[in-house]
């Protein structure tokens, strides 16, 4: 079903939410993505992914206490739900099993920057 598929970017966001537990919120997630992967992401893109994840039930969120640094505006903190964990595990397993099925010949001689 389309609605429960985990997209590549969504998976990344989901993983980062886990990494940042319990302080995962929009901007922090973006910073972490940029640090971990070097990808440039708009804040809006992260928010959009979070909203999709929430629609699919993979994350839940709650508004945190107000802080001074954002002019008293509250952050929305995200946590992975059981469904989210499930989806991540499925993806992980699928990837591992596929990886293991690749014959050694297919990868032989391939290395970063190596010549053929």
């Amino acid at each position: 079903m389309k609605g429960t598929q985990l997209g590549e970017f969504e998976e990344l966001v989901l993983l980062i939410i886990g990494v940042l537990y319990p302080n995962a919120y929009g901007l922090q997630i973006r910073i972490e993505i940029m640090e971990q992967t070097g990808r440039k992401v708009a804040i809006g893109a992260v928010h959009s992914a979070l909203s999709r994840l929430q629609d699919k039930g993979f994350v839940k969120s709650a508004l945190a206490e107000a802080t001074h640094e954002r002019g008293g505006r509250r952050k929305r903190l995200f946590q992975i739900t059981a469904a989210g964990k499930d989806a991540m595990e499925k993806n992980h397993e699928l990837r591992n099993s596929l990886w293991n099925k690749i014959p050694d010949m297919a990868l032989k001689g391939l290395s970063y920057g190596g010549s053929v």
Partner: protein, 870 residues
């Protein structure tokens, strides 16, 4: 919280976000964005952070964050459809669109140029950093009971202000003087600016070479970029020695700086900037003096510590006024005043001898009015034509209404279509204005050098956007509301009587023709004035007269000697100032009344050589010793305005303490142009040392040959001095050029006005004929002949136009009479009634041509075709 308010992100971006973003998401999104902005600001420059803020804010334009997305999307689609129909209509109704776009674009281009001209006037000198802290000190003088503002102040005033008033941060005295500047073979007469060293820190004239401090060295000189290129086209000017020659004495100055090119909004600049203290030995001026006479006074500028200090400093100037008044009992100053730099040039024309002056406001106001009227005219056309063109779209309107379109939506539709048209017109107008009209203005008014850089001057796009929105609303509102009110049933039954009697359209058209009338009259008037000037009696004989400026008696004598040996030269005379080229004003007293009069210091035979006609009394006599320092010859204006008494020859005239008697009166002659009233002028004899010009009367037609000889002789004898001879008949060329340019501009405006009103008439006549097509067809079927139809079509338009012209003729006469009274006094008396008659004829021709094209169409049509469509 405190630091959050310090680094608030762009407000507009925030507001925009609030507008499109869902309310429930706004808090967290805004929080993230603000926090992000705070981080950015600590590491990046403000504009980079702002830019990035905008970037991220706009990235929230995603479906998940948008308010009420379904409704927004349909309305966006709706607008897209409106814009599409708008473009289709532009394409389908080619003639109407062309008339509208052409009219609007032309007038937008004209308005843009006028805006630039006016904007430049209001931004004169504003480029100086702290311009509002800089003030000129000027004096208000009691002048026979009325107050006059004089640009100059005593020399010691500036230094005293700086020393004694703490709010005066800096002070510079400035004055300009003529001298010859020489470097190797480059010899020219130049205007030199003498100023205290703080000149360069008060005014923002950055140097590209050298340092501003170098002005402190007494024998240093700073050049403008232009002068540096003129004297040192190939070399580095720094360190070179310039020779400055004044009355035969040479002074050496070393170039220590070159200023960058000056901004076009600078009302004053300099070619050569020299330390002020040099005036003492170069001109023998007492730099500490409190004397308030012309040769001993200068322009004084101060920079205050803050703008509001003006209030505290102004009252303190009174004590200096008392000091000056004690020393100059004849010239009582009422007040010294501080005049802010940004408006100094604009008000320059109300000041006697201003340091800076801008252009005549009357001309600019006239241009502004013209461009507004043309805009209005283009809007009339638009309204008339779009109402008439709605005929073709009546069914569309009816169907839209029948299938449920609300009136509001129709209004929006028409306004949107109008925005499309105005948008196209604005873009075109901006291009035409920037790439055609502005360069044209620069050619006509040589030296104005206006440029527009849309990307540097945010006011220009701002002006265009305002103009665009205003035009769209003004021209679109009437058609939009009017057309959208039609009843669909009436339209579909064919009963909609389009435009009714269209009174409004007729009123517009009448007004438009009125305005066109005024425009054509003005074009003709300027043309007439130009011709009039060329035929004027100058009051003396300007032809066959070669004038050469001289610097010292040696040059004068050498040329005089050369003239006696040249068969081509009949006779010569010397003078301190030359009629039409220069004059000095002197203050005189007659029976304790003070006047300023133009003074020409001359040699005894000057009037004879110039052919200035003596009408009463006698010419100067070389052999009478009393003539040397006791006699005056005055012009007729002097006689009429100043000496009322029966016998002016007995009335003594006091000139700066010396008493003179009038011995002769000359016919009036023109010194500025042909419209300024001729003011009182006097001639007096001065010794040879004071001659600055030698005038040579040549044999008729021998001017060019003689000049070649004189020039050759000059370069042979005086290699140190530039040859600056000129023909007397060219002295008014500047003036001719400027009225010539005005003539060109006004004729162009008249052309545009004619085209616009012809288009307007065309639109209205087509509307009229569309309405009456069936009537004409029936008449033709029943046997109406051509003349009958012609009468029917043209009758009411002819009546309308006659009314317009009957009103316009006297009214425009009055308008120009008052307008020209300011700019070219006395000129209306000379032109008479012919421009008004000619304008009437031109307009009648335009009306005839426009209407007849329609009449021919009606006459040629097959009536059956129109009736069969029923």
């Amino acid at each position: 919280m405190a630091d959050q308010s310090e680094i608030a992100p762009p407000k507009l971006a925030d507001r925009l976000l609030g507008w499109f973003c869902k309310d429930e998401l706004l808090e967290e999104i805004k929080g993230d964005l603000h926090e992000f902005y705070g981080m950015e600001r600590t590491e990046k420059s403000a504009w980079k952070a702002n830019w990035s803020y905008w970037y991220h804010m706009l990235h929230f334009l995603r479906p998940f964050a948008l308010k009420n997305k379904t409704q927004k999307q349909t309305s966006i689609a709706m607008y897209r459809s409106y814009i599409k129909t708008g473009f289709r209509n532009l394409k389908r109704q080619k003639l109407a669109s062309f008339i509208n776009v052409f009219g609007l674009a032309t007038t937008i281009a004209i308005s843009l140029v006028v805006y630039v001209l006016i904007d430049r006037q209001f931004s004169l000198d504003a480029f100086h950093a702290d311009a509002d802290q800089i003030f000129a000190v000027q004096s208000r003088i009691d002048w026979n009971g009325t107050e006059e503002t004089w640009g100059r102040t005593p020399l010691q005033l500036g230094p005293s202000l700086k020393a004694e008033i703490p709010q005066v941060e800096e002070m510079t005295r400035v004055t300009r003087k003529l001298a010859t500047v020489r470097f190797e073979d480059n010899v020219f007469n130049e205007v030199l600016t003498y100023a205290d060293p703080s000149y360069l820190s008060i005014f923002s004239f950055p140097l590209i070479q050298g340092q501003a401090e170098s002005l402190k060295g007494k024998k240093n000189i700073i050049l403008s970029k232009a002068s540096a290129e003129k004297y040192f086209p190939a070399d580095d000017p720094i360190g070179k020695d310039l020779k400055i020659l004044i009355d035969g004495k040479a002074f050496l100055f070393s170039v220590t700086g070159v200023a960058d090119g000056f901004p076009e909004t600078a009302s004053f600049t300099f070619d050569f900037l020299l330390p002020f203290e040099n005036l003492k030995e170069m001109y023998n001026i007492d730099l500490q003096g409190w004397k308030n006479i012309k040769t001993q006074s200068v322009f004084t500028f101060v920079k205050l510590d803050q703008v509001s200090s003006n209030q505290q400093v102004s009252p303190r100037l009174a004590s200096y006024r008392d000091v000056v008044n004690d020393i100059n009992p004849d010239w009582q100053i009422r007040q010294f005043g501080l005049y802010p730099l940004p408006s100094l040039a604009r008000n320059g024309q109300y000041v006697r001898e201003p340091y800076a002056s801008g252009s005549t406001p009357e001309i600019l106001i006239m241009f502004a009015i013209i461009s507004l009227l043309l805009l209005a005219s283009a809007c009339f056309n638009y309204v008339n034509i779009s109402v008439s063109m709605a005929q073709k779209r009546l069914s569309e309107i009816a169907i839209r209404k029948v299938v449920g379109g609300q009136r509001k939506q129709l209004i929006t539709q028409f306004l949107t279509e109008n925005f499309v048209l105005c948008f196209v017109a604005t873009i075109l107008g901006a291009l035409v204005g920037i790439y055609a009209f502005l360069p044209g203005i620069n050619v006509l008014f040589s030296g104005s050098g206006y440029t527009i850089n849309i990307f540097q001057d945010p006011a220009i796009p701002g002006f265009l956007i305002i103009l665009f929105v205003a035009l769209s609303l003004i021209s679109g509102a009437y058609p939009a509301f009017y057309i959208s009110a039609f009843k669909p049933v009436a339209i579909l039954k064919g009963k909609q009587n389009l435009a009714g009697k269209n009174r409004l359209g007729k009123v517009f058209l009448t007004m438009q023709f009125f305005l066109t009338f005024v425009a054509i009259v003005s074009g003709l008037l300027f043309t007439d004035l130009n011709e009039f000037q060329e035929e004027q009696d100058w009051g003396y004989q300007a032809s066959d007269l070669l004038v050469v400026p001289v610097e010292d008696p040696a040059q004068y004598q050498a040329l005089k000697l050369f003239a006696t040996q040249s068969p081509g030269i009949i006779n010569t005379a010397g003078s301190g100032s030359q009629i039409g080229r220069s004059f000095v004003e002197s203050a005189i007293k007659i029976t304790d009344e003070k006047y300023t009069v133009r003074t020409f210091n001359i040699s005894p035979d000057y009037l004879d050589v110039m052919n200035v006609r003596v009408i009463e009394g006698r010419d100067f006599d070389e052999n009478l010793s009393s003539d040397q320092n006791k006699s005056l010859i005055v012009n007729k204006a002097f006689l009429n305005q100043i000496s009322d008494s029966e016998n002016p020859f007995d009335q003594p005239v006091d000139i700066e303490g010396e008493t003179f008697n009038i011995v002769g009166v000359t016919e009036n002659f023109h010194f500025d142009d042909f419209f300024s009233p001729i003011t009182p002028a006097i001639f007096r004899l001065v010794p040879e040392e004071r001659y600055n010009y030698i005038s040579m009367r040549t044999t008729p037609g021998g001017l060019n040959d003689t000049e070649a000889l004189v020039k050759a002789e000059w370069t042979k004898q005086f290699p140190d001095s530039p040859y600056a001879g000129f023909f007397q008949e060219e002295v008014f060329d500047n003036f001719f050029n400027s009225t010539g340019s005005l003539k060109a501009v006004m004729n162009f405006v008249a052309m545009v006005a004619i085209i616009l009103s012809a288009m307007g008439l065309f639109g209205l006549v087509s509307l009229f004929i569309i309405k009456k097509l069936k009537e004409y067809s029936i008449r033709k079927v029943l046997g109406a002949n051509g003349t009958h139809i012609v009468k029917l079509v043209s009758k009411q338009f002819i009546i309308l136009m006659s009314i317009a012209m009957l009103v316009a003729a006297p009214l425009s006469y009055m308008i120009f009479d008052t307008l020209f009274a300011q700019v070219f006094p006395g000129s209306m008396d000379t032109v008479g009634i012919s421009p008004f008659l000619l304008t009437t004829l031109i307009l009648l021709a335009v009306i005839f041509v426009t209407i007849s094209s329609h009449i021919i169409q009606v006459l040629r049509m097959n009536p059956v075709k129109n009736l069969r469509l029923e």
